[in-house]
C-alpha cells in the first residue's frame, strides 16, 4: 500500500496545483485610465482653401498680371499651384472660391469656411505702392479652431510678384509641415534640342515652378552639369567646344562668364563647396580619373584621390567637412565618403548593383544617388550607407539634385524608346512624383538654394 500512496499523491498533486492556480486572487484595482490608439493616414487630408487675394483699390500695376485685382487672383493661383503640384495638402484654388473683402482678410468668416469643409485658409491682400512696388500680405488661418496660425507681408518689385506668392506658399508649407521653405528658389538645367547625333545642349534657368524660363547659352558649345553658387550670383557648368573641356562660371543676370579651368584632359561634374570658395571636379589622365579641388576664384588644383580607376562626382556635406563621391576601385561603381582633405576614404554603398552620382542633402541627413540594377533608379540613404529607400521606379532616372530644404529631389528621366529626356521631381516619401514642364527636353537639373 505504501507504494501506491505516492502514486495516488502524484495523481492528485497536479489537480490540486490547478485548483490553487484557478483560486489565485484577482489583481487589485484596475487603473481608471482608458487607453486606446488613434491611427491616422499618411495621406494629406488637410483641405486648404486659397481664395483670390483682396485689394484696397483696383489700380493698374507694372506687373505681368495686370491690375491689383487680377494680380490678387494670380497670386492666389501661384500659391495654389505650388501646393497642388507638390502633393501637399488638398488645396482649392481661387477659381472655385468666393473672393473675400479686404476687411475679411484679417477677420475671416470662419462659419462659412467651416460649412465648406475647409480645414485651413490662406488669405491675403495685394496693394500697389506709389513707388510702383507691390505689397503682398499673407495670412494662414486654422478654420476648424477659428485661429490665425501665421502671417507675413512682403514688398517686391513689380517683376518679382511671383516671388511674393512663392514666399506665401513657403510660409504656409513651413508652418504646417515644420520643414524649411523651398518654393522661392530657381532651377538650372540643360535644355536639349535637335537630332540624337547632333544634340544642341543649352544652359537654361527657371523658377521652381517653371516660370520665368531663360536660356543662358546659345548652343554653339555643349553645356553640361550646371550648379548654382550658394549665393545665387553665378552658375558653374562644364562646356565642350570641339572636344575641349572647360569649366565656366556664368552670371545669370548679365550672362557674362569667366573661364575657371581648361585642360586637354576630360573634365567632369564640377561642384561648389557650401561656402562657395572651392570647386570640386574630376579629371581623367592616362586612364585614371581622380577628384581635385580648386579655389573658385582660380588657383592651383589640389588632388584629393589617388586610387587606380575612376573617382568622380564629388559632393560636399552641408558643413563642408566631408565629400561623397563615386569610385569603381572595388570593380564596380560604388559610393564612397572621405574627409574634405581627401583622407579617410571608405565605401558606404553595399546594396548590390552599382551606385552612382551621389549628392549630399543640404540638410545633411540623406545622400541621394542613382542605383543601377538593370534599370536606373533614384534612391536615398543615410550618410552611413543605411536606410536605402527608392524614390522612383522607371527605366532610366539619374542625376538627383536636392531642393533647398532637402525634402524633395529633382532628376532627369530618359524615355526607353525615343531617348527623349525630361525633368522630374519626387519628394522623400516617394509619393508625389511629377514632371516639370520645360519648353524643350531637359536633363542635368540643378536646384539652387532658397533665394536670398
Amino acid at each position: 500500500m505504501k507504494k501506491i500512496i505516492p502514486f495516488l499523491l502524484a495523481a492528485v498533486l497536479p489537480a490540486s496545483a490547478l485548483l490553487a492556480q484557478s483560486a489565485a486572487p484577482a489583481p487589485a484595482a484596475a487603473p481608471p485610465e482608458v487607453e486606446e490608439d488613434v491611427v491616422g493616414s499618411l495621406d494629406n487630408d488637410a483641405k486648404i482653401a486659397i481664395p483670390a487675394f483682396a485689394t484696397n483699390a483696383d489700380v493698374p500695376t507694372q506687373t505681368s498680371a495686370g491690375s491689383t485685382s487680377t494680380l490678387g487672383f494670380s497670386v492666389a493661383n501661384v500659391i495654389f499651384a505650388d501646393l497642388r503640384n507638390n502633393g501637399l495638402f488638398q488645396p482649392t484654388g481661387p477659381s472655385s472660391l468666393p473672393r473675400p473683402a479686404l476687411a475679411q482678410v484679417q477677420a475671416p468668416d470662419y462659419g462659412s469656411w467651416q460649412s465648406r469643409g475647409v480645414d485651413m485658409l490662406v488669405q491675403g491682400y495685394v496693394r500697389a505702392e506709389s513707388s510702383g512696388n507691390i505689397t503682398v500680405g499673407c495670412y494662414l488661418y486654422d478654420v476648424a479652431l477659428g485661429q490665425q496660425r501665421v502671417k507675413a507681408g512682403w514688398t517686391v518689385a513689380p517683376g518679382d510678384w511671383r516671388r511674393a506668392a512663392h514666399k506665401c506658399a513657403d510660409l504656409v508649407y513651413s508652418n504646417l509641415s515644420g520643414e524649411n521653405p523651398f518654393f522661392d528658389s530657381r532651377v538650372a538645367y540643360i535644355a536639349e534640342t535637335g537630332p540624337k547625333d547632333r544634340r544642341m545642349k543649352r544652359l537654361a534657368i527657371m523658377d521652381s515652378d517653371g516660370a520665368n524660363h531663360t536660356f543662358l547659352t546659345t548652343g554653339q558649345t555643349i553645356a553640361l552639369t550646371p550648379r548654382y553658387s550658394p549665393d545665387y550670383k553665378s552658375i558653374m557648368y562644364l562646356s565642350y567646344t570641339n572636344g575641349q573641356p572647360r569649366i565656366y562660371i556664368i552670371d545669370p543676370q548679365t550672362k557674362a562668364q569667366r573661364l575657371l579651368l581648361s585642360t586637354n584632359n576630360p573634365l567632369f561634374a564640377p561642384r561648389w563647396s557650401p561656402d562657395g570658395r572651392w570647386v570640386l571636379y574630376s579629371m581623367a589622365t592616362g586612364g585614371n580619373t581622380d577628384i581635385y579641388k580648386i579655389p573658385s576664384a582660380g588657383g592651383t588644383p589640389i588632388k584629393l584621390t589617388d586610387a587606380p580607376g575612376i573617382d568622380i562626382g564629388g559632393s560636399f556635406s552641408p558643413d563642408g567637412s566631408k565629400i561623397v563621391f563615386e569610385s569603381d576601385r572595388s570593380g564596380s561603381q560604388q559610393v564612397y565618403v572621405m574627409n574634405a582633405d581627401g583622407t579617410g576614404q571608405r565605401r558606404i554603398s553595399f546594396f548590390g548593383g552599382r551606385a552612382a552620382t551621389p549628392e549630399w542633402s543640404p540638410r545633411g541627413d540623406q545622400i541621394a544617388f542613382t542605383h543601377i540594377v538593370g534599370n536606373l533608379r533614384i534612391a536615398v540613404m543615410d550618410p552611413a550607407g543605411g536606410s536605402l529607400r527608392y524614390l522612383t521606379d522607371s527605366w532610366q532616372d539619374e542625376a538627383p539634385t536636392w531642393a533647398p530644404n532637402g525634402r524633395v529631389v529633382q532628376f532627369f528621366r530618359t524615355a526607353k524608346t525615343s531617348g527623349k529626356t525630361s525633368l522630374w521631381q519626387v519628394d522623400l516619401t516617394g509619393r508625389n512624383e511629377r514632371r516639370l514642364e520645360t519648353p524643350v527636353d531637359g536633363s542635368d537639373p540643378a536646384w539652387g538654394p532658397l533665394r536670398p
Binding site: 487607453e35 488613434v38 491616422g40 487630408d45 479652431l145
Partner: protein, 277 residues
C-alpha cells in the same frame, strides 16, 4: 498448546491470506484501467484588464416596471399654479409602499413564496396605489393624452415588478459599454487627426501618447504635457506639428457625447496613442 497458532489465529491468518490473494487477483486481473478521460481543457486568458468591481448585472436589482410614456402637451397654466402642494404630498405617500416590496424581494425567500399568492396581491396593491396617487398629484393628466396611455401610466397591470430602480441593472459599466465609449471618442478624434497635416520621411515612426481628463459633460478638462517619441534625424522637423496636431484633434473632437455621467469615474481619465501609417 504446542501449536504456535490457535485455531482462531490460523483461521484468521488463512482468511487474511485468502483476502490478500483475492485482492491480488482482483488487482492483477482487473482490466488495465482505461486511459484517464482527457481533461476538459478550458482556455484561460490572463488579463490585466480586470475590473476591480463586478460588471455583471446586479441580481438584487429591482427594475422599474415598464411604463407608458406621457403624451401630449404639458398641462395648461391652471394646473401649473398649485404645484407646491402636490409635490409635497406624494413624498410621504411612497413610504408605506416599501413594506410590500420588502416582502416581495425575491432573494430572501425564493422558494417558500407561493406564486399564486403574490400574483393576485400585486394587482390589489397597484389598484389601491393608483387611485390614491392620481387624485393626490392631479398633474399627470396632460392635454391630449390618450386614455390608453393613461391606463399604462403607472405601469403594466400585472407587471411582475414594482421596483423603482431607473438606472441600468449593472452597478458597473460592462466591457461592452466601455468599448462603445472608446469607439465614440476614437471615431471623433480620428477625423481631425487626419485633417491635420503632418507628412514626410519617418513620420510613421512618431508616437504621441496623450493623457487627458474629461468632465462629466464630456468636455476636455486638462491635457497633460507630453513628449513625442520615435524621433529620427529625418522626422525631427515634424515633431512639433505632430504634437500640435494631436492636441488639436482632441480639442476639436470634444465635447464627447454619449458618455453616461453616472460612470464618469470610469471614462474621465483617458490616454490616446496617436500615430500615422
Amino acid at each position: 498448546m504446542r501449536r504456535a497458532l490457535s485455531r482462531e489465529e490460523a483461521f484468521g491468518l488463512g482468511l487474511a491470506a485468502l483476502g490478500h490473494v483475492a485482492l491480488a487477483w482482483v488487482l492483477v486481473m482487473a482490466k488495465p484501467s482505461a486511459p484517464p478521460p482527457p481533461i476538459d481543457r478550458v482556455s484561460v486568458t490572463l488579463s490585466d484588464e480586470m475590473g476591480a468591481v463586478s460588471t455583471s448585472p446586479n441580481p438584487k436589482s429591482d427594475p422599474m416596471a415598464d411604463k407608458g410614456p406621457e403624451l401630449g402637451e404639458p398641462a395648461p397654466v391652471e394646473e401649473a399654479a398649485p404645484p407646491p402642494q402636490p409635490q409635497a404630498q406624494p413624498q410621504p405617500k411612497p413610504q408605506p409602499a416599501p413594506q410590500p416590496r420588502v416582502a416581495a424581494v425575491p432573494p430572501p425567500k425564493p422558494a417558500p413564496v407561493p406564486a399564486p399568492k403574490t400574483a393576485p396581491a400585486k394587482p390589489q396593491q397597484q389598484t389601491k396605489a393608483a387611485p390614491k396617487a392620481v387624485p393626490a398629484t392631479k398633474t399627470p393628466a396632460k392635454a391630449g393624452a390618450s386614455s390608453f396611455d393613461q391606463l399604462f401610466a403607472k405601469g403594466i397591470p400585472g407587471g411582475s415588478s414594482k421596483g423603482r430602480d431607473q438606472t441600468s441593472a449593472a452597478s458597473q459599466a460592462s466591457a461592452q459599454q466601455v468599448a462603445s465609449w472608446s469607439s465614440s471618442i476614437n471615431s471623433r478624434v480620428r477625423g481631425p487627426w487626419n485633417s491635420c497635416p503632418v507628412n514626410g520621411l519617418d513620420v510613421n515612426k512618431l508616437r504621441a501618447s496623450v493623457r487627458f481628463t474629461l468632465d462629466p459633460n464630456g468636455r476636455v478638462q486638462s491635457i497633460e504635457d507630453f513628449d513625442v517619441t520615435g524621433v529620427t534625424e529625418a522626422n525631427r522637423a515634424q515633431v512639433k506639428p505632430f504634437k500640435d496636431c494631436a492636441v488639436r484633434a482632441i480639442r476639436l473632437a470634444a465635447p464627447f457625447a454619449g458618455l453616461p455621467p453616472e460612470f464618469h469615474d470610469q471614462w474621465k481619465n483617458r490616454r490616446l496613442n496617436f500615430r500615422k501609417e
